[in-house]
């Protein structure tokens, strides 16, 4: 039998890998993928606690998070396409229009 702590540590590991991806990579598409990893880690936490408490509400919130992830991916990728059309780059540190 696997305890809740195991799931918490798995979720923590996935979350940290996602954080490293977000703060160190330059490619915006990989940054978006790392955000998906982070959201997945949160889902594992929610479902593990849902089993611990014996209630189904964590599953409901996980469904809402998956909905959010879909919306975020659609809008984010739309922004990437629009930006690529204007500036011909997908690297995050070349997106400096608001810097001076």
């Amino acid at each position: 039998m696997i305890g809740t702590g195991h799931y918490l540590f798995l979720s923590l590991a996935l979350f940290l890998i996602g954080v490293v991806g977000v703060v160190t990579r330059r490619n915006v598409i990989i940054i978006l993928m790392s955000i998906e990893l982070i959201l997945n880690a949160v889902n594992i936490n929610l479902v593990a606690f849902s089993r611990l408490v014996g209630s189904v509400e964590g599953h409901v919130f996980a469904i809402f998070i998956i909905t959010d992830a879909a919306a975020e991916a659609a809008v984010g990728l739309g922004i990437i396409i629009a930006f690529f059309r204007n500036r011909e780059t997908v690297l995050a540190d070349e997106m400096d229009l608001l810097k001076w």
């Binding site: 809740t4 479902v47 611990l52 189904v56 909905t67 659609a74 690529f84």
Partner: protein, 169 residues
């Protein structure tokens, strides 16, 4: 015992492919490994008796979001970005930040673990048996308003994505 083997298999697969997602040079390879990580997470959901989430994860993430990602990767030019530097110059600051965050969260889980019931007192699997039915019931009674708000959010995201990606004429 079987539980343990299944957990180790899926957890190892998820962590390994997640590491490969953030370290590969080619974006397409990252996308493929992200699919593996999401499938392994779906396996973890199945082990946690979340059958509905297992199906939603496969259909929505692997079938929907990842196809979107692959389409966008095909639309933006790969060959230029492939030969440029993949990591920021201050990447070690990010790594340090992640290690500090990990140490903090590990300490928090380790201290708070005493408050958690151990594996032997975890509720039996039969508590959450007719799972999909319960999820549907909760979604359409207690969480009706958030459910409708989520549908409005999806509509807004759909319109927003179309407006963003539309070619200006």
């Amino acid at each position: 015992m079987l539980d343990r083997i299944v957990f180790d298999l899926f957890a190892g697969l998820a962590i390994l492919s997640a590491i490969l997602v953030v370290t590969r040079r080619n974006v397409i390879h990252s996308a493929i490994f992200l699919i593996t990580a999401l499938l392994a997470t779906a396996g973890i959901f199945l082990q946690l008796h979340a059958e509905f989430l297992f199906i939603v994860q496969i259909i929505l993430y692997v079938g929907g979001i990842m196809v979107l990602f692959v389409f966008v990767i095909m639309l933006v030019n790969l060959d230029v970005a492939l030969h440029q530097m993949q990591f920021r110059r201050q990447w070690w600051v990010g790594l340090l930040l992640a290690i500090a965050l990990g140490a903090e969260a590990t300490a928090a889980i380790y201290i708070g673990r005493l408050g958690l019931p151990g594996p032997e007192t975890a509720p039996p699997a039969s508590v959450l048996e007719p799972n999909t039915e319960l999820v549907g019931h909760a979604l359409f009674t207690g969480y009706m308003l958030p459910f409708e708000i989520a549908s409005v959010l999806l509509l807004v995201a759909m319109i927003g994505a179309v407006v963003m990606a539309k070619r200006r004429t």
